[in-house]
């Protein structure tokens, strides 16, 4: 089989993996070899679905002994199978990287023969890449569920980020759709990676404390291998099983708190296997729902929100018409209006239309002068959303009412509430609802639209 054909099959098989980020680690070039990393990551291009391509995202092989119902590569499926050799993966990565097509490698794999056998192949590939080819770029690797902890440890010292897919939000769903996997084979290595990251960080911190200006020690510190320096992430499939947004977000929150994950990714379910256990999605994948979950995920990670503030047992799903932050603000009008020139950073973060960057710019800028609405605009505040919730020197921008209905009606006119890409790709049904129907209890219409 030609390299071209293999690349076609194995990138096609990898495309449902979400994480294509190259962020989280800052590493200068070594002066020899090839490659460096910058902390915010770099997107190299965007594919026809609008998703970023940053890494060469491939499976090592799509042969698999597991039979997960949602996966195209499950062992009962009749698809073309292929496998790379470690040399082929290295050549592709190096040549693409030189030409600045990619930021590094994303290597996942189906399970060939056994989890250990597969993990060892991945280890060999990474070892060659790092030590034979001198590659210092970004490597994201999937840990194979059920692989030996020793192998996981060895791979972790070569990779920048590791991830183990949670696949489905609850253990029940996992049992039903992925009988070969269990919560245990997923969470155990996740814990192991977390512990190794902590141990590696502590070792480095100790070395740093002992550091004398002597050159030998600095070199020692620099050469100490780092275990998964960009942290670990995970992903789960949204819309294949009946969990509510509240359940999904609670799982994500627990993962951030207990496993110290860097990111939790959500992937809108695309039905590729036509398995009878899975829902048919006539309206396409639930993209708007995925979008709302990511918005809420941002609120957890950068805006100090808790899931219990956004959702509850009684209100288990996000409002489709308003983003989670606006939705929260409308239900908590007692916090508003907020005075821009006095409110602390955390209060500013809660105002719709003020992001974490604008909030910190406001805090710095108001030390020098009193801020007005036109200054806010230059700082980057989205005034069309923020104006209902803020005052500058005690005045509101326009004469507005602090009333839920009034603000809601006006915010709904803001077209960015439902992102353009989703609005124009099949959510035209929205225009059928008139404003009267936008009651707080929109979960029924929500389910109709996202096709759960």
């Amino acid at each position: 089989m030609t390299l071209m054909k293999k690349l076609n099959i194995l990138s096609d098989a990898a495309k449902y993996d979400v994480a294509c980020t190259s962020s989280g680690v800052e590493r200068g070039g070594s002066g020899k070899g090839i490659g460096n990393c910058i902390a915010p990551g770099i997107c190299h291009t965007f594919s026809a679905d609008g998703r970023c391509i940053s890494l060469l995202k491939i499976l090592f092989t799509n042969e698999c002994i597991f039979n997960c119902a949602y996966c195209l590569n499950n062992c009962n499926n009749d698809v073309k199978r292929a496998a790379f050799t470690p040399e082929e993966v290295c050549t592709l990565t190096m040549e693409f990287y030189r030409r600045n097509y990619i930021e590094g490698l994303f290597l996942s794999s189906g399970i060939l023969i056994s989890p250990n056998y597969t993990m060892d192949l991945i280890y060999q590939t990474l070892y060659q890449l790092r030590y034979v080819h001198g590659f210092h770029g970004y490597i994201h690797v999937k840990s194979i569920p059920g692989a030996d902890p020793v192998l996981v440890e060895k791979v972790g010292f070569l990779a920048d980020r590791m991830s183990i897919n949670l696949e489905l939000p609850t253990a029940d769903s996992l049992r039903r759709l992925a009988p070969c996997k269990s919560r245990n084979t997923i969470l155990k290595p996740m814990r192991q990676i977390q512990n190794s990251i902590d141990a590696s960080k502590q070792e480095l911190a100790l070395l740093e404390n002992r550091l004398y200006p002597g050159r030998g020690e600095l070199a020692h510190w620099q050469e100490t291998p780092r275990f998964v320096p960009a942290g670990q992430s995970t992903q789960m499939i949204i819309g294949a099983t009946p969990e509510s947004d509240f359940q999904i977000m609670s799982v994500a929150e627990r993962l951030y708190q207990n496993f110290n994950l860097k990111r939790v990714f959500f992937s809108a379910f695309v039905n590729v296997t036509e398995n009878s256990d899975l829902p048919a999605l006539p309206g396409g994948p639930p993209l708007l729902r995925e979008h709302r979950l990511y918005q809420a995920d941002w609120l957890l990670r950068f805006y100090h929100f808790k899931v219990s503030e956004l959702l509850s047992e009684d209100k288990p799903d996000f409002n489709i018409f308003l983003d989670p932050k606006c939705d929260w603000a409308l239900r908590h009008l007692e916090f508003f209006p907020v005075e821009i020139n006095r409110a602390d950073y955390y209060t500013l973060l809660r105002v719709p239309g003020i992001g974490y960057k604008s909030a910190s710019r406001i805090v710095k800028a108001r030390k020098q002068s009193v801020l007005t609405f036109s200054d806010l605009k230059k700082i980057g505040v989205v005034l069309k959303r923020a104006l209902y919730f803020i005052t500058c020197s005690g005045r509101m921008m326009y004469n507005t009412k602090l009333e839920e209905d009034y603000i809601c009606r006006n915010l709904m006119g803001d077209k960015t509430q439902i992102p353009r890409e989703i609005r124009e790709s099949g959510y035209r049904q929205l225009s059928l609802f008139d404003e009267g129907m936008i009651a707080p209890d929109s979960s029924a219409s929500f389910q109709k639209i996202i096709g759960v």
Binding site: L3, I38, D49, D375
Partner: protein, 262 residues
């Protein structure tokens, strides 16, 4: 009012700033403008052209670095390297004037390194806006730039940026590809960054580029381009197809210089 006209470059504007200080007219009675500015001459203004003086420029740069810090200095340089369309120039304050008044404010403050946080000040806000636009484009190009391997093994890239981002890009790629010979050619400004294996880079004016040289690719080049195209097409999910989002994320003006979208 005295108006100093300076060249639209880092050295040019810094020379202007030096001259403005040295003239002792007082900062309120003096204004800077770039020589390519679209403003008409005003009555009761005295105009003076400031020649580019590398020595003065170096003195200003040293002062900025020492008093305002490396970061502010870097941002000011980035703001100066921003390119503007005619429409933007008409609508906004002149670049040289914004930089000059920002420097004056920064040097008068107790903590000069804070100067770019004073976004309530219109001059600072303008510098901030320019620096952000140049910085964003530079960051985009770190990803969107493509190298092709020429016959002799040199990597060659052609870009058409709005802002003068070549130094930022060169710095990044020297660190990333230390053992490669590469050329990044900014066709809009006819300048190129040249890097020789294992050394630093230099910027050179290229008034007449050798088109033939730039199009003689190595044997392997076509093969890897095909592989990349294959990957690019098979990685997209058909059910999520969304050309608008794609265009929003990688604006069309970058497309001709890439391999996969041209």
């Amino acid at each position: 009012m005295k108006v100093l006209i300076c060249e639209n470059s880092i050295d040019g504007i810094f020379s202007g700033v030096y001259r403005a200080y040295a003239s002792r007219y007082g900062h309120n009675n003096i204004r800077l403008t770039t020589s390519d500015a679209l403003e008409s001459f005003e009555l009761f203004c005295e105009y003076e052209e400031v020649p580019v003086d590398p020595e003065c420029s170096r003195k200003v740069a040293d002062t900025l670095r020492a008093r305002l810090g490396q970061e502010v200095y870097y941002d000011i340089c980035q703001a100066i390297s921003a390119g503007e369309t005619e429409k933007e120039q008409r609508k906004n304050m002149n670049k040289a004037e914004a930089v000059y008044k920002t420097v004056v404010l920064g040097l008068s403050m107790g903590q000069g390194f804070n100067v770019l946080n004073c976004l309530g000040n219109p001059y600072v806000a303008r510098v901030f806006q320019l620096a952000r636009s140049a910085g964003n484009e530079a960051h985009h190009l770190l990803g969107f730039l493509r190298f092709s391997e020429l016959e002799n093994g040199t990597l060659f890239s052609r870009i058409h940026p709005r802002n003068n981002v070549l130094p930022i890009l060169a710095e990044h790629f020297v660190d990333r590809l230390p053992m490669e010979n590469f050329i990044i050619y900014d066709e809009n400004r006819k300048t190129a960054a040249l890097h020789r294996k294992g050394s630093g880079y230099l910027l050179a004016a290229v008034p007449q580029a050798d088109e033939e040289f730039m199009n003689r690719f190595s044997e392997k080049e076509q093969e890897y381009r095909q592989l990349w195209l294959e990957f690019f097409h098979s990685i997209a999910i058909e059910a999520r197809k969304n050309p608008k989002l794609q265009r929003q994320n990688i604006p069309k003006r970058f497309w001709p210089d890439t391999v996969e979208l041209k």
